[in-house]
C-alpha cells in the first residue's frame, strides 16, 4: 500500500482547523494564543456559524488575530473591543459577535468598556487571554501581573504597596447581573484545551439563545515575556498563576457558583 493511499481525507482523524488561514502565526513558539485561536475557530466551524460571526480583535499580541481567523473581523482601538462589539451586536442582533482580548487590553486600558458592556448584558462573547504581562510591547507589568513577579516595568518584582494587587477582572464582572456565564480555563494541555473548547461552545450557544454576556478567561503563558522556556513557563503558570486565578466555572446560567 502506498502512503498516498493512506493519506486521504476520509482517513484523516486530525486536520488543520478549517477556519484558520494559512498565514504563519506571529506568536512566539510555546505561546497559548495559537491554541486559543484554534479552539475558537473549531467551535465556530462545528456550530456552522462562520458566515454569521463577526470577531473583534484587540491591541496587543493578538492584534493580528484577523490574519489567522478566517472570518469577518474588525480591529478595535486599545481596550475598546467591548464597545465596538456592543454596537455590532445591537445593530446585527442575529449575528454572533465576540471579542478576543488580552489582559492589558481588557483589564487595564479597557476596564470601563469591559465593565459596562458586561453590565448592560450585551449578547456577546468575550474571550480573555490572561498571561499576566504586556507581551506585544516586550514584557511590561500588566494589571494581572502577580505579586513579586518581575517584568520590564517592575524589574524588582511587583510591589503590592505601590503597584496594587493583580486584578481579578473575571471575579469582578461575574457579580454583574447582565453577565450570564463566567468561566476560567487554560489551554496548555489537551485536557485543559478540551475543557476550554466546551466552554467556548457554551458561550456561543448562549449568544444563539440570546442569554447575554459570556466571559471566558484563558489563563495562559508568555514564555518570552516571562523569560522562560515554553515548558518551564507552563509549569510556572500551574504553580503560580493557577492558585491566584483558579480554573473552573464562576457563574453558570446566570447563577454564581459558591
Amino acid at each position: 500500500m502506498e502512503v498516498s493511499d493512506i493519506i486521504r481525507p476520509e482517513n484523516q482523524v486530525f486536520c488543520k482547523t478549517k477556519l484558520m488561514t494559512d498565514n504563519a502565526l506571529s506568536y512566539c513558539p510555546g505561546c497559548g494564543h495559537g491554541t486559543a485561536h484554534n479552539l475558537t475557530m473549531e467551535v465556530i466551524d462545528e456550530m456552522g456559524i462562520s458566515e454569521d460571526v463577526i470577531g473583534v480583535a484587540p491591541v496587543g499580541c493578538s492584534v493580528l488575530a484577523y490574519d489567522f481567523m478566517n472570518i469577518d473581523m474588525t480591529q478595535a482601538a486599545h481596550g475598546r473591543a467591548p464597545a465596538v462589539a456592543t454596537a455590532i451586536s445591537r445593530l446585527w442582533p442575529e449575528k454572533y459577535v465576540f471579542t478576543y482580548q488580552g489582559d492589558g487590553d481588557l483589564a487595564a486600558i479597557g476596564t470601563a468598556e469591559t465593565i459596562h458592556a458586561c453590565n448592560r448584558g450585551e449578547n456577546i462573547v468575550i474571550i480573555f487571554v490572561n498571561n499576566g504581562i504586556y507581551g506585544m510591547t516586550g514584557g511590561q507589568m500588566a494589571p494581572t501581573t502577580l505579586a513579586g513577579m518581575k517584568s520590564s516595568t517592575s524589574p524588582y518584582g511587583r510591589d503590592i504597596e505601590t503597584m496594587g494587587s493583580p486584578l481579578k477582572m473575571t471575579e469582578l464582572i461575574a457579580n454583574l447581573p447582565g453577565v450570564y456565564y463566567v468561566t476560567r480555563h487554560a489551554v496548555h494541555t489537551h485536557k485543559h484545551a478540551r475543557k476550554a473548547k466546551k466552554a467556548i461552545q457554551k458561550a456561543f450557544e448562549n449568544t444563539r439563545l440570546g442569554k447575554g454576556l459570556s466571559f471566558i478567561e484563558i489563563v495562559s503563558n508568555c514564555n518570552s515575556g516571562w523569560k522562560m522556556a515554553p515548558n518551564e513557563s507552563n509549569i510556572w503558570m500551574e504553580e503560580n498563576m493557577f492558585p491566584y486565578f483558579p480554573l473552573g466555572d464562576i457563574k453558570v446560567d446566570g447563577i454564581l457558583k459558591k
Binding site: Q75, R80, L91
Partner: protein
C-alpha cells in the same frame, strides 16, 4: 412629508438624524449638546425606524461604538462638545485610518480645559488640522442656522459614504441652543441589510456569507503598505477639495473690504456687513460652509479685489491663519474674536473692521510708500 417646525438646533439635528435613516446613535451627556441624546431617547426612534440609540459609559466608548457600527456598513453617528471631542479623537483617527464612514457632531464650547459651557469656535484647529494622531483630515461642515443643523446630517452621511471617511459637523453652543424655523425633510427608510450588503458588501464586516472574509483595520506593519494607505487617504482629500467644497459669498461683487466668518460668527457678521453698507463702507462676507475643504481659491481671487480682510471668529485667532495662507499675504489680514463664551456684536465687528483693516490698511500702504521713497 416635509414639516415646518420651531426647534432648537440640537433637537433639529436629532430629528433630522431619525429622518435621514440613521441606524445608530451613540452618545454621552455634555453641555451644550445634551438635547441631542435627550431628544432621541424621548422620540423612541427604535419604534419609528428601528434606529438604535445608546447612552455610552464615556465619549471614548461612544466613538468606538460608532467605529463598530460603521465597520459593518451601518449609518452611525455620535455627538459631543469640545472636551468630549478631545476624548473621541483617538477613535476619530481610527475611523479615518480604517476608512470608515461616520458622522461626528461637535457643539463647541469654550476651552481649553473644562473651559465654559458658553458658545465658542475654539475647536477650529482641532477640527481642520487633524486633531487626532496621524496623517488624516475630516470633512468639516459648519452650520450657521438651525436649518443647516438639520440639513447637514444627511449631507455629512453622503460625504462619509462617498469617501468612506468620517465627516464632522462643527456647530457651537449658539447654533445648538437657539430656536428657529426649520423645514424637516420627509422620513427616509433605513437601509435594509440586503441593501447594505449590496452597497458596502465589498468591505463591511457583516459575516462572510457567499464571499471571502472582510477585515476592518488601520494597522499596516509593513511600511510600504502604510504609505500606500496614507496616499489613498490623501487622494480622497484632494478629491474632496475638487468636488465637495462649499462656501457662500454675500455682498462680495463690489466689496472693497472682506469679512471671513463661519457658523454663528457668519450670522453676526452678516449684520455687521449691513451696518457697514449703511455707513457707505463697501464690505462683503465670505462664509466657508466647509472648513475642510477650505475656499482657498475664492479667497485668493478676492484678495485681488479687496483692500483688507478681517477674520471674525469666536476664538483667539485660529481660522485667520488659513485666511492668510489662502491670500498669500496679498492684502492685510487681521483677526477679531471674543472668547470665554462672549458673543461679539455686529457693532463690535464693524468697529474692528474700521480700526484693524480700514484704518490700519491705509497706514500700511503709507509705510510702503515711505520705504519706497527711502
Amino acid at each position: 412629508m416635509s414639516e415646518l417646525k420651531l426647534m432648537k438646533g440640537n433637537e433639529a439635528l436629532a430629528e433630522a438624524a431619525i429622518r435621514a435613516g440613521v441606524d445608530g446613535y451613540f452618545g454621552y451627556p455634555i453641555t451644550p449638546q445634551t438635547e441631542i441624546i435627550e431628544y432621541l431617547m424621548a422620540e423612541r426612534p427604535e419604534l419609528r425606524t428601528g434606529m438604535v440609540v445608546l447612552q455610552a459609559e464615556s465619549e471614548i466608548a461612544a466613538i468606538n461604538m460608532v467605529y463598530g457600527a460603521a465597520s459593518t456598513g451601518k449609518k452611525a453617528m455620535t455627538s459631543s462638545s469640545s472636551p468630549g471631542i478631545s476624548l473621541k479623537l483617538e477613535g476619530i483617527s481610527y475611523l479615518a485610518g480604517a476608512e470608515l464612514p461616520a458622522v461626528i457632531v461637535n457643539v463647541v464650547r469654550g476651552g481649553p480645559g473644562l473651559g465654559t459651557i458658553q458658545p465658542s469656535q475654539a475647536d477650529y484647529f482641532q477640527s481642520v488640522k487633524g486633531g487626532g494622531h496621524g496623517d488624516y483630515k475630516l470633512y468639516v461642515l459648519a452650520p450657521a442656522s438651525v436649518q443647516e443643523m438639520a440639513d447637514f446630517v444627511e449631507d455629512a452621511f453622503d460625504i462619509a459614504f462617498k469617501y468612506r471617511a468620517p465627516a464632522l459637523i462643527l456647530s457651537d453652543g449658539l447654533i445648538g441652543q437657539m430656536m428657529e424655523k426649520v423645514v424637516l425633510k420627509p422620513q427616509k427608510p433605513r437601509m435594509t441589510n440586503e441593501e447594505l450588503i449590496e452597497k458596502s458588501g465589498d468591505w463591511a464586516v457583516t459575516g462572510k456569507k457567499g464571499r471571502e472574509r472582510n477585515i476592518i483595520t488601520s494597522l499596516d506593519l509593513q511600511s510600504e503598505k502604510m504609505e500606500a494607505r496614507v496616499r489613498r487617504l490623501m487622494k480622497k482629500y484632494e478629491q474632496m477639495e475638487k468636488e465637495d467644497l462649499r462656501f457662500e459669498k454675500i455682498n462680495c461683487d463690489d466689496a472693497e473690504y472682506l469679512i471671513v466668518a463661519y457658523g454663528s460668527s457668519a450670522r453676526i457678521s452678516q449684520k455687521a456687513v449691513e451696518l457697514g453698507r449703511a455707513k457707505g463702507i463697501k464690505v462683503g462676507l465670505l462664509r466657508p460652509i466647509t472648513l475642510f475643504p477650505y475656499p482657498k481659491k475664492a479667497l485668493f481671487d478676492l484678495a485681488d479685489q479687496v483692500k483688507g480682510i478681517l477674520s471674525v471668529e469666536l476664538n483667539a485667532g485660529q481660522m485667520v491663519e488659513d485666511v492668510r495662507l489662502s491670500v498669500e499675504f496679498k492684502v492685510p489680514v487681521e483677526h477679531f474674536g471674543r472668547t470665554g463664551g462672549i458673543i461679539h456684536t455686529p457693532e463690535e465687528i464693524l468697529e474692528a473692521l474700521e480700526q484693524k483693516i480700514i484704518k490700519n490698511g491705509s497706514i500700511r500702504h503709507h509705510k510702503t510708500r515711505e520705504s519706497s521713497i527711502l
